[in-house]
């Protein structure tokens, strides 16, 4: 995996909560046995009109967001199906960073990202950043004010700087183990295989074979 240190790019808004993976990449595109070829069908049903032309109302199709690589969206992004194809579609389109808010509800917190999606994103070097609602609202507002808003994400410093006429920035929180893996671009399977002895020992102690217990 390519290490993630800093990234600068155009910020594109998708101001909806609960964007599910069926929406990110509909099932008719899951038949491929490749990891590539999903980018053009990212957000298919929102991005294209029934006749196949670009839907001009959808942000990704708007000229000001051309080549966007930082997606800012609502909470519970990536809910639903475990399909990693959703992440492959996002990466192939060019998205490297996703910003979403955690929200308070009934005394609890509604997280920014769905669990499986967040794991899948990490495995593919997409940085999924959870931020307070208030900050995400400010970003949405800044996007409407500044044409082609750029931002720079620095994973080492855990900051995101928005290059508006007046620059503003936020610190963000991230699990340190995840940060480490992204910064170094570590291969998870390779890491686990370093524990091969422990795995073998576990198998000797607990016989996991079918019918054995």
């Amino acid at each position: 995996m390519k290490p993630f240190k800093t990234h600068r790019g155009v910020v594109v808004p998708l101001n909806r909560a609960n964007v599910d993976t069926d929406q990110i990449i509909p099932k008719q595109f899951l038949k491929s046995i490749q990891r590539t070829g999903f980018g053009r069908n990212l957000f298919q049903d929102w991005r294209y009109l029934p006749d196949g032309r670009n839907n001009p109302d959808f942000p990704l199709n708007q000229e000001r967001f051309a080549d966007a690589s930082i997606l800012v969206t609502g909470n519970n992004f990536g809910c639903g199906s475990s399909r990693e194809h959703a992440v492959w579609a996002l990466t192939e389109y060019g998205i490297r960073v996703i910003l979403a808010p955690s929200k308070k509800r009934d005394g609890g917190v509604v997280p920014a990202f769905a669990d499986i999606f967040k794991n899948n994103a990490l495995k593919n070097g997409i940085l999924a950043i959870e931020m307070p609602s208030k900050e995400i609202d400010e970003i949405f507002e800044a996007i409407t004010c500044y044409h082609g808003l750029h931002a720079t994400v620095d994973l080492e410093k855990q900051t995101i700087v928005f290059h508006a006429s007046k620059e503003f920035s936020f610190k963000f929180q991230i699990d340190q183990a995840i940060r480490e893996r992204l910064l170094k671009g570590l291969d998870d399977i390779g890491l686990t295989l370093q524990k091969e002895e422990a795995i073998g020992e576990y198998e000797r102690q607990h016989n996991p074979s079918p019918g054995a217990r």
Binding site: R16, K27, S32, E84, A177, T192, K195
Partner: protein
């Protein structure tokens, strides 16, 4: 001592830790890895590219379900679907993985056949590249859905790096009213806490209403845990669990003395009295009504007796999101749900495609006709369910009512095969997701129980099953 009191989940977790990786992550051993055609080809390619093998092919089991035709199984017309199915067969041959293919008498939806074959047992860790893997939690197993990179990881190492989720106990007190089912319990819960209400948690479902449920009903509840954002859902194993495992043709269960010993161990699994959960919730099951979703998220759900909501009066959803959902669904606020007419009824899926679901639906349909203009499609979850249902004559009941009786597979739950809704067709579905386009581009899905689906097929619109005269018998 307080610290020795553990929940069911904690007992399974601690027994599967192979190593600590960092402060927040452990390496967890995986007892069963279930594989299907859609989320695995890229994982096998990854293994080949890195020159790695499958560590435990004997713990890995594959089937074809998502893409398969439910009419004529001898030919798959879509060449891309066929390529995916052939890729799985090829990968299983190369890596020596047991495959339940389309010619196998026990083929079916992966989450239906796992328990049927006896692959799913209490106390296990089970993964599959499919979010509805939570189904297997009904047996007191920690079962979770994973992405394709993780599928590759488990193939290569039989382990998965995992951060420990928090625990969330939901108690359903009292007995369910007639006409209210396991599906209604889980839809009610999702409506109450939202589709991200349990993100970062594993559920443990408890209470009388859960104990009263059959294994099939328990699987329905656990199946949709993911729809509340949870990583998994568990139910403590009990005599019903052991009975299910001991009976029937389940080639992979332990037998004889080994089974007796296993049951003795499984009896130690339930949560210790006084063990603490990170979160708890109680729901009075006696007061529940049949549930119907009205929107484009499983959390957009209400009692069948409630009208389509006003956009600004839905807890947990913004007015704009509800407006978008109602526009997509073609519904007007204030319309009674019982006035909403459907075009299609789908009975099947890993949520409600088991024998008991088909029996319950058949009981409602028996001696009646599907309403004019309504298509009813019944898709058994597996070949085993299909044969059992045909043995009991359920297929005849459905066919005589005018239904389309199909072969086993995921079918219209995700509509990857030709079983799809047309734009703006409205469907009462026993599946698990009512997302935009889920059952076909522009299709409108309402999630319901099998009983509600059957009654809706008869009437042509939603009914309150508790008061529906057809449910009197």
């Amino acid at each position: 001592m307080f610290a020795s009191k553990k929940t069911l989940f904690e007992k399974i977790w601690s027994r599967h830790v192979v190593a600590n990786l960092d402060v927040s992550t452990v390496l967890l051993y995986i007892d069963r890895h279930l594989v299907h055609e859609v989320t695995s080809p890229q994982a096998f390619d990854g293994l080949r590219a890195a020159g790695r093998g499958v560590r435990r092919p004997d713990l890995t089991f594959a089937t074809m379900d998502h893409n398969v035709p439910t009419d004529d199984r001898t030919r798959i017309l879509d060449p891309i679907s066929r390529a995916q199915i052939e890729a799985l067969a090829h990968n299983c041959r190369q890596f020596k993985i047991r495959l339940f293919d389309l010619n196998d008498a026990q083929q079916g939806i992966v989450h239906i056949i796992g328990p049927e074959l006896g692959l799913t047992l209490p106390g296990m860790t089970i993964v599959c590249g499919d979010s509805h893997t939570s189904t297997h939690g009904a047996f007191g197993a920690f079962a979770l859905g994973i992405g394709t990179s993780e599928v590759e990881h488990v193939l290569a190492t039989q382990c998965l790096p995992q951060r420990k989720p928090k625990t969330f106990q939901v108690e359903f007190d009292g007995a369910l009213p007639k006409g209210v089912t396991a599906k209604d319990l889980i839809l009610k819960l999702i409506g109450a806490i939202g589709t991200a209400g349990a993100t970062g948690y594993v559920f443990e479902y408890a209470g009388q209403a859960i104990r009263d449920l059959s294994m099939e009903g328990r699987m329905t509840i656990c199946n949709m845990s993911i729809e509340a954002g949870a990583r998994a859902g568990l139910i403590a194993p009990d005599d019903k669990t052991f009975d299910y495992i001991s009976k029937g043709n389940r080639p992979f269960t332990p037998k004889g003395e080994t089974l007796d010993k296993a049951i003795a161990e499984w009896k130690k699994l339930p949560t210790d009295a006084g063990a603490k959960f990170d979160r708890t919730l109680r729901i009075d099951a006696t007061k529940l009504a049949p549930q119907v979703t009205w929107g484009t998220s499983p959390g957009m759900v209400g009692d069948v007796t409630s009208p389509v909501p006003e956009p600004d009066k839905v807890p947990g959803y913004s007015k704009a999101d509800v407006e978008k959902a109602l526009e997509y669904m073609g519904l007007t606020p204030g319309t009674p749900m019982t006035d909403v007419k459907v075009d299609v009824v789908f009975i099947g899926s890993c949520t409600n495609g088991r024998i008991e679901d088909l029996r319950a639906a058949a009981k409602i349909i028996q001696g009646r006709r599907v309403a004019q203009g309504v298509k009813l499609m019944v898709v058994p979850g597996s070949q085993t369910v299909l044969k059992q249902a045909e043995g009991e004559g359920l297929d005849k009941i459905f066919k005589e009512a005018g239904a389309d009786w199909r072969q086993s597979g995921c079918s219209m739950c995700l509509a990857m095969n030709p079983d799809q809704l047309k734009p703006q067709e409205r469907c009462a579905s026993t599946s698990n997701r009512n997302f935009e386009g889920r059952q076909g581009k522009g299709g409108r899905t309402h999630l319901v129980s099998p009983e509600m689906a059957a009654a809706t097929a008869v009437e042509g619109h939603f009914v309150d099953l508790r008061r529906w005269e057809g449910n009197a018998r």
